[in-house]
């Protein structure tokens, strides 16, 4: 079909006075947007291929390039917006489901930005983290109801396995396959040196990554790719992935092009074959089935590693979370609907699930009402963008946060949302050798270290400001939060008062 | 230890610098019939063309001898060597004793027998700074220059004199320029380039006689062509200056025979530079390789051997970089022989010609595009089998990428 009803989404704007025809843009664009025209000795652009990933912009040594959203518009219509119309064009031309990468783009409320953090003034001294100890470590795992000591004060209770994080942040599940080996390596190395955890995602684990075991969460998802006893015992924590915030109720699909030799080995599937994760686990059709899987995994790992169950934040999350806690999970991970993904149907991504803030507040409250909040750890993810989001999440009741998009942005992701094409110009969401090498894990590692170290400092500052010197004293400390511009229902669900109250 | 060097050019400097690397105290004496501070012989044509100043003619800075603690006896010709007494006799009768002696006397121009060519004061060779200074006095915008010989020296003389004189005619017995190093394909663009710049060639012919009174006024070729002449440059060839050495019992063919450490057959007598016949490491044959870089390396190799110092001297082979009016030419190794395979490429007056024997690169001629030629030189000196390379020699982007990964990375990390 040659009839194209739409037009390129972006415009490539080149300052001819600044362009030095070094061709860096051409060499760096996997979408082949830029080209040196030798007849006219000028750089030319095919804008229809541009995905606005900014690789060319970032590398252009003279800042001669700008990518702008194409400002060509339809007749103004608040209902039939340009994107609504263009999506119809696309589907009418392709007959396919609209795909997208990364997180929800719709303007739903971001509750993090509607909560404000408290600080001490006069009655209670703020603490200077540069001068006083400031503790950001947390322990994830199941907690017994109480501890027993003998008469000499020695501990009698046998503790279930715990995982200690120096900062309440973990790199959440991103499979080797959806992201490149170099990205994976950077995450693993940074997690190790930060003493936090990274998550294998559902892609299994290449042997060379076993060395990062103490800081690895091995994930078991519905496709069971790369799952075997050695894998289960390779990490320090296990995670059953039930759902993902970006696509609740949907399985995964790694296209065969991304299944090269290394990915094929790690996943234990033939090279070039599509890796399709079913929507549900076909051995979990109910909560009691989950219990069986949790205990199977505990048996397989000799009760030495905590088991997490990850769900997408959906309407009924509090009850589901309660069930998970009672089914024996040690950690409940909840992923909000702004969370990222390598590929999701756009309609699902943009319309299914609920914001993590509300899910977190509701789950924490529900578990407290059932007096089981202290039994389990609660980890939340789904668009944690900065240290303040983390502080707010913990004040709402989380033990720790999962970050993925932030980590990828730290190593270069520009949120073009085209991960599913496998042509990630930043070497992150790709398996193409020439693109993969663009992400030097040494650099990526350092940037991740920097990011989390910076966040740690900020968390310490915010804690100190609140007069708190251990992060556990912030957990569930909702008095430290006030809402801004929220209605009473939202305040009630978040369990916070409005600013000024 | 007392080192004596006869000669004061590249080989001498190589020897001095080599000695001083290993021995800061020993006495070093340089004896030369030339009066000049060590200068760069190949720059003579540049000097005449006015592109290099007198100050820049020096090969090493003015304080070189002082810094190197070298005793110089410049303007003193060594007339005899007594290998038994280990002494050199100078023209003035003085003798200089040595423990180790380097003969680096270079070569002299060979002047063929031409009728009437005798003792005229406007006939020059083009080997020494003194001749350049003499020529300079006779050159003006109307001066007519005739050069006999279109070898390297002849053409460099032509290049140097063309811009500052009225006319330059070059007479060459062979049918092309640079017959010793270029084939026809390589020679044509050189000739063209020189003609563009005002040089007239008379090829495949010899000068039969000169017409003179007290100076040469005309050169008459075999076919009777007469060429008016104010300055005549004789550049048909050179001869190593071996006489004094041979008299002392040093063995020589055309040049002094030396081994890989520049030793002659006589104990404690070494020879280096244009005066020698050394081993061409690409062929294993002894030959004269009268080229500046080789002279330096040989002088230095001799020094290391004199001091019994470790030295990873790879030996030398013919290699040369020249250029005429901006057209660069690089040659190395052999140009022909048995069982040779020739690979060539090129267009628009640029050409590359590689001579391969048994999977090893043994020679090349690059005209015009000489970039990265050293990589080929490296292939030759290291005798790297071409079949291990991932690219063809004639590929446009031939480079270190052609090497296998391990070798390449070793090179990159050196």
């Amino acid at each position: 079909m040659s009839l194209q009803l739409g037009w390129p989404d972006y415009m490539v704007i080149r300052d001819e006075n600044r362009c030095i025809k070094c061709e860096v843009c051409a060499k760096q664009c996997a979408n082949e947007v830029h080209k040196l025209d030798s007849d006219y000795d000028k750089m030319m652009a095919d804008e229809s291929k541009c995905v606005n990933c900014h690789r060319c912009v970032a590398l252009c040594p003279t800042r001669a390039l700008k990518i702008k959203v194409n400002d060509l518009e339809f007749k103004p219509n608040a209902n039939w917006t340009g994107s609504a119309i263009k999506e119809i064009y696309k589907q009418a031309s392709s007959g396919g489901v609209l795909l997208s990468g990364m997180g929800n783009t719709k303007p739903y409320p971001v509750y993090w930005d509607k909560m404000l953090i408290n600080a001490s003034q006069v009655t209670n001294p703020s603490i200077d983290p540069l001068r006083e100890p400031m503790e950001t470590s947390v322990l994830l795992g199941r907690k017994p109801e109480k501890l027993e000591f003998d008469k000499d004060g020695k501990l009698k209770t046998k503790m279930p396995p715990q995982v200690k994080l120096d900062v309440p942040v973990m790199f959440s599940a991103m499979s080797f396959g959806s992201i490149s080996k170099n990205a994976h390596e950077a995450l693993a190395r940074a997690a190790t040196d930060l003493n936090i955890m990274y998550n294998t995602g559902e892609g299994g684990l290449a042997k060379e990554f076993y060395q990062y075991g103490p800081n690895t969460i091995v994930q078991i998802a519905s496709g069971r790719f790369g799952v075997h006893p050695e894998y289960l015992n390779a990490g320090a924590m296990l995670e059953i992935k039930i759902g993902q915030g970006a696509k609740p109720g949907i399985g995964g699909h790694l296209p065969g092009e991304k299944v090269g030799e290394a990915v094929s080995k790690a996943r234990m599937i033939p090279r070039g074959s599509d890796a399709i994760s079913p929507a549900p686990h076909h051995d979990i059709y109910s909560i009691e089935d989950l219990r069986q899987l949790i205990y199977s995994l505990k048996e397989a790992t000799n009760y030495t590693k905590p088991v997490s169950v990850k769900i997408a934040a959906v309407h009924n999350s509090p009850a589901i979370a309660s069930g998970i806690a009672r089914a024996g999970a040690d950690i409940i991970a909840i992923d909000g609907f702004r969370g990222g993904t390598g590929a999701a149907p756009s309609r699902v991504r943009d319309n299914v699930g609920i914001p993590i803030e509300l899910a977190l507040a509701a789950v924490d409250q529900r578990l407290r009402e059932e007096s089981i909040r202290n039994d389990v750890s609660l980890v939340v993810g789904g668009s944690i963008r900065n240290s303040a989001d983390i502080v707010k999440a913990i004040a709402l009741g989380a033990d720790a946060c999962y970050i993925a998009s932030s980590a990828l942005i730290a190593v270069g992701c520009h949120m073009c949302q085209n991960c599913y094409t496998g042509k990630c110009n930043w070497g992150i969401a790709t398996q193409r050798d020439d693109l993969v090498k663009r992400l030097n894990p040494d650099i990526a590692y350092e940037r991740l270290m920097n990011l989390i170290t910076a966040w740690k400092h900020e968390i310490e500052e915010l804690l100190g400001g609140m007069g708190i010197n251990a992060i556990e004293s912030l957990r569930g400390n909702r008095l430290m939060l006030r809402g801004i511009g929220l209605n009473q229902k939202e305040l009630d669900i978040l369990g916070i008062q409005h600013a000024g109250e | 230890m007392n080192y004596v060097i006869i000669g004061n050019s590249a080989a001498a400097v190589g020897c001095i610098e080599g000695l001083r690397k290993n021995d800061t105290k020993a006495s070093i004496t340089v004896i030369s019939d030339e009066v000049h501070h060590v200068y760069s012989r190949p720059l003579i044509s540049y000097y005449l063309a006015g592109t290099v100043t007198h100050e820049n003619m020096v090969y090493r800075k003015a304080d070189f001898y002082e810094k190197m603690n070298v005793k110089t006896m410049l303007g003193s010709k060594a007339t005899a060597i007594d290998a038994k007494k280990k002494a050199v006799t100078l023209e003035n009768g003085e003798t200089v004793g040595y423990d180790k002696l380097l003969i680096a006397t270079g070569s002299s121009a060979f002047v063929p027998p031409i009728d009437g060519l005798d003792k005229q004061n406007n006939v020059f060779t083009f080997l020494k700074y003194d001749s350049a200074l003499d020529i300079e006095k006779l050159i003006d915008k109307d001066a007519k220059v005739v050069i006999v010989g279109a070898g390297l020296i002849g053409l460099k003389a032509a290049e140097g004199l063309a811009p500052v004189s009225g006319s330059v005619h070059v007479v060459e017995m062979a049918d092309r320029v640079l017959p010793m190093i270029l084939d026809e394909q390589g020679a044509a663009p050189v000739q063209a380039k020189m003609q563009e710049n005002g040089v007239t060639f008379h090829l495949g012919i010899t000068a039969q006689k000169v017409v003179d009174k007290d100076r040469v006024e005309k050169v008459v070729l075999k076919d009777g062509t007469e060429i008016a002449c104010d300055v005549l440059v004789m550049a048909v060839g050179v001869r190593p200056n071996v006489a004094e050495a041979m008299a002392a019992g040093v063995k020589a063919n055309r040049g002094i025979l030396v081994d890989e450490n520049m030793r002659t057959n006589v104990d404690d007598i070494y020879a280096a530079g244009d005066v020698t016949e050394a081993v061409d490491v690409t062929t294993g044959e002894h030959k004269i390789m009268a080229l500046w870089p080789n002279a330096y390396l040989q002088g230095r190799a001799a020094a290391y051997d004199m001091c019994s110092a470790e030295h990873d001297f790879d030996g030398v082979f013919p290699m040369n970089a020249v250029g005429f009016f901006g057209l660069p030419i690089i040659t190395a190794g052999v140009q022909d022989g048995e069982d040779m395979q020739v690979l060539s490429t090129g267009e628009n007056g640029e050409s590359k010609r590689f001579i391969v024997k048994d999977d090893i690169l043994v020679g090349m001629i690059l005209v015009g595009d000489v970039d990265r030629a050293g990589i080929y030189t490296y292939l030759m000196s290291e005798k790297i089998p071409l079949s291990t390379l991932t690219k063809k020699l004639t590929d446009d982007d031939f480079g270190l990428m052609a090497f296998e990964e391990e070798q390449r990375n070793e090179r990159l990390s050196s």
């Binding site: 020439d434 650099i443 | 090493r60 870089p293 990589i375 270190l400 990428m401 990159l412």
Partner: protein, 147 residues
């Protein structure tokens, strides 16, 4: 001595090193002017070799026993005994290209525009790190002392 080392594993062949090398060796020290306006056009002293799987940027290795120095007919090419830096005195260089012939890395660049002289990496350390290293977007060039 500290030298620039290329790591072909991470080189993207983007050529930014060339851009910054050229700029650093320009009169104006301005990228745009150096590339678009300056006459003669400044030369980069690097060779970026690109292949299907690997790329690398190569510049003068500042060898211990530099063949370019021993080959130089004018004495323009010298290795500084203290710093180890191999530099070419462009006032004395006549552009005979013997160094080009001698350098086993092919690292010497002919600068025909700037008066026919050999151009080579001088490690431009005035700003701490050579420009190519500083601007390599993927750490494929390292300025290190590996001896």
């Amino acid at each position: 001595m500290k030298k620039v080392y290329a790591d072909e594993k991470w080189c993207l062949g983007c050529g930014l090193c060339n851009v910054y090398c050229r700029t650093c060796h320009s009169e104006t020290n301005d990228i745009v002017k150096a590339h678009n306006f300056e006459e003669p056009r400044p030369k980069s002293r690097l060779h970026v070799e690109t292949g299907e799987k690997v790329n690398f940027a190569l510049q003068c290795r500042h060898c211990d026993d530099p063949k370019c120095v021993t080959a130089c007919i004018t004495g323009a090419m010298q290795k500084d005994p203290d710093t180890g830096l191999v530099t070419n005195d462009t006032d004395r260089c006549v552009g005979c290209w013997t160094c080009v012939l001698a350098c086993p890395f092919g690292a010497i660049v002919r600068d025909e525009d700037a008066g026919k002289v050999a151009a080579k990496c001088d490690l431009c350390v005035k700003s701490g790190e050579p420009e190519c290293v500083k601007h390599c977007p993927n750490n494929a060039l390292k300025f290190e002392d590996r001896e």
